[in-house]
Subunit: 526 residues, 2 copies
């Protein structure tokens, strides 16, 4: 759907005012400023804009040659003269405009989406066509942050019906590219986040691909955690592949681990997430659509989803997780995907490393059959589930098959193949993973037993030390839950590439208890 279609779709709703403003347009010469303005922003001469009934933060449709873009206007009385328009890098990247080029400025019609946002706000149910228009206008930059925030808030308060989730998923898929692999069966996995060090993807993908099934895996970067799978894989090779390169990697090796953000798959979702972030709103229906759209856009037919529960992760108990799982399964069915869900214990980190390079080391150790048991077992459970779902192995033998692929060395070989195809070193091994020069060991302040290892606190410490931007930064656990420790025994080690950041992370420890020791006396009164 393009701008023209939107105008047609919205035609019956156009107010007379809109019809008239269509006639109002004026032409300016481009003045170029290579500045990231944080959005599609142009600057117009204040007086000239007012004469054309345009005011600060109005949106306009710009035409340059045959290209059209929607932008938000800022005004200045001295930075641009009459007849000039200042363009910043976000608009320039869409237009091939040069200094002095003619840019036509038109009033933007009221977005058709406003009506549907209102409908949702008033408790109505949106049809797929209506969701489509909202997602299309979102992609065209026609909706302001305020309008989108209102839409998310309405979905949060009113909830989404199953029909709406299906509609939203299809709209989000349609908003971006899709991977046309031309092979089958296509498998996928997803973990509903929150668990530190949970890098099962990098173990599951080589097991599945080595077993002869396709798994074109896209992963995300970290938002608030110490590392996303994309950040971790990037320690070894490129993850920002264009879609044609991704297809080639998968056609050759049957698997890949790439960054979804580089692919423009399910593009509308990336924009929705940006709005959800400042408010930390995550309406369940939007979360479902967001995850399922990413699976659908790579053509997934079999999907296993890991829902961790427990202290500090999104879902607190079995009952909530079961409800969400049922939603995944029944909506997945309507979208043509077979989905199975594993509810897992997410109250503590998986593996011993937290941070890109440290998690990478855990992954390679597991693939070498030496690594942390928890990461190995969880990965084999997930891979086993996929093997059974697709009928590749019979019910009940998935886990064992996954383990035997690991034991045989086929998984590490497949991993090395994928890393190399994604531009990494040939025959990658543990000693290739970079290690931080700056380290600090945190010790027990008293005797006791390790009672809890906290996902959120350790992620914060790892971030304070520089993760995920600094690949080697993070936290390495030196104890396990249940360990008896004496005062002065090591609990974990903070890694960083800079002394300043290490100091900063150590300072941060005052408020953040990453490893809690059992205390028989909780507090003392009087």
């Amino acid at each position: 759907m393009n701008i023209g279609d939107i105008v047609t779709a919205g035609a019956s709703r156009l107010k007379p005012k809109d019809e008239v403003w269509k006639y109002k347009k004026y032409i300016c010469r481009a003045k170029i400023l290579d500045l990231t303005a944080g959005g599609k922003i142009v600057v117009l001469n204040e007086q000239e804009a007012h004469e054309n009934d345009l005011y600060a933060s109005h949106r306009v449709v710009l035409s340059c040659g045959k290209k059209q873009e929607v932008a938000i206007i800022d005004l200045s009385h001295d930075l641009v003269s009459r007849g000039e328009i200042m363009l910043f890098s976000e608009v320039l990247s869409e237009f091939d405009a040069k200094e002095g080029d003619q840019i036509e400025i038109m009033h933007m019609q009221r977005p058709a989406s406003i009506e549907y946002i209102k409908k949702k706000m008033d408790g109505g149910e949106l049809a797929e066509k209506e969701m489509d228009i909202v997602m299309t206008e979102l992609m065209q930059n026609r909706l302001s942050e305020a309008e989108l925030s209102s839409f998310i808030t309405s979905m949060y308060i009113r909830g989404l019906t199953q029909d709406e989730v299906v509609g939203l998923t299809n709209s989000v898929v349609a908003s971006g590219q899709t991977l046309q692999l031309g092979r089958s069966p296509i498998c996928d996995k997803h973990c509903v986040g929150g668990v530190a060090g949970n890098r099962t993807t990098m173990v599951v993908v080589p097991i599945i691909a080595a077993s002869g099934l396709y798994i074109p895996k896209t992963s995300s970067r970290s938002i608030t955690s110490a590392a996303g799978t994309a950040d971790t894989m990037e320690t070894l090779c490129s993850v920002s592949l264009p879609i044609d390169d991704m297809r080639e990697v998968v056609q050759k090796s049957k698997g890949c681990v790439v960054w979804g953000g580089a692919l423009r798959l399910a593009s509308a979702d990336d924009k929705l997430i940006k709005i959800r972030n400042p408010l930390s709103l995550d309406p369940e229906g939007v979360m479902l659509a967001s995850i399922l759209a990413k699976k659908k856009s790579v053509g997934a037919e079999y999907v296993v989803i890991d829902i961790p529960i427990g202290r500090g992760v999104k879902l607190a108990n079995q009952a909530e997780a079961k409800k969400l799982a049922d939603q995944f399964i029944s909506i997945g069915k309507r979208l043509g995907m077979k989905i199975e869900v594993l509810i897992t214990d997410g109250s503590e980190p998986i593996g011993v490393g937290i941070g890109p390079a440290l998690e990478c080391a855990d992954v390679i150790s597991v693939l070498n059959n030496t690594g942390p048991t928890d990461l190995r077992e969880k990965s084999c459970r997930l891979a086993g589930e996929i093997l059974e779902m697709t009928g590749k192995v019979k019910k009940g033998s998935g886990f064992d098959t996954a383990e035997s692929v690991l034991n045989s060395g086929k998984a590490i070989a497949k991993f090395q193949e994928i890393v190399e195809l994604q531009g990494g070193k040939k025959g990658i091994k543990l000693s290739d993973v970079p290690v931080a020069k700056q380290r600090h060991i945190v010790v027990a302040e008293a005797d006791g037993r390790v009672f809890h290892i906290d996902n959120r606190m350790l992620s914060k410490i790892a971030r304070a030390a520089g993760a995920p931007n600094d690949k080697v930064a993070g936290v390495k656990l030196l104890c396990e839950r249940g360990d008896k420790v004496r005062k002065g025994d090591p609990l974990f080690e903070i890694h960083s590439d800079s002394e300043t950041k290490l100091d900063f992370a150590v300072k941060a420890l005052e408020g953040w208890e990453g490893v809690e020791l059992e205390k028989s006396v909780l507090s003392r009164v009087g």
Copy 2:
């Protein structure tokens, strides 16, 4: 309440992360660009910002000398070098910064309001203290458009209790200046908008002031109509008075008609309106608080409110209007204001002029006892109500008293006094009102009877002709509802100061039927 208090108030809710980011700050030299950025925006060097964990559209607290301001950051890799910060006019107007001055940049803590916005979203009731924190952070520019939009959306969907409206009103009053008049009794009036030409304020104020009561009236400018009272009064004199000048005018003449926007009364409301605008959301509780805060901030004790109903205005029927009136009265009582409400017929324009100068002419004609009867009668009803409420005259004689003030010439004399005190010409008269050079008469296309004169359509035509920016632009009615007209008879005249705009307005007529003639056959099928 200042930024320090907010930090204290929010202290118990601070997450460890916030505590730590407090230590992170860096200092840059000011680089000045006198550009209206449409918000408090600064540009930082991209790489340097990232090293300090700051990303596009994050908010920061800037310190310059002893002043602090919250701003949103944009990033550039070439416009500013390391160690530089670019300031635009919105921030410059708060700081007295010069090129090269030191500006300290700090991470902004998560606004305390987020918790209350979430609470409202989840159906909770906000205490006055909580509303206060939201309004204070709003005024400090600590809340993003997305966050505010989410707040308005939540209030729209969840509604506000009467306690919340009282709390919100008090918070909005506290957010701005208040008029300390030191006189009594103080009266006020308000009209819930939507009726074209409804300039009763400019007639009521001189009647009330001439009767010996105080009426420090603040009015608004037009947002979507052809003229607000402030725009209309501005045809004759200044309306942008600082609060000390306003007080002086009222102490001398007992009345005034000034623009509320210039006064920083109920400041938070102006910010809320800006957010409501793009979505046209107007949650009832917010509307009530917005109106009542403006009355309370001038110290009003007696207020009459005009609620128009009918085709094309906000409220469609008596029942809705009655419900709103009851709300006004009972919330007013809790705020210490005696309120009475008149429900009026708002389906057609009042007076014959639509547009600043044309409405001014109607007002002066009424004050001269020659003007449009509908404007005269409505004004006397409103003024009469105030005279009775305050006990100035006995029940039932208000209207007659108001008429006799008009008849005696005291009202026009008072009006002239006020105009002069506000910087206008001495002894202002009808011939001083400017008249447009460009005019176009719209005639009946067929024989018929005038069936409906449309507020919204005529306002649109007046705006297309240049109102309210061009004072003389607008529409002058040449017929009344019920008139029998023949094809070619004049219906109304479009006024403009420019031929281009007049052409534009005439073109606009194609879609906009300002005056509808009765049609016995509505459509023909087959």
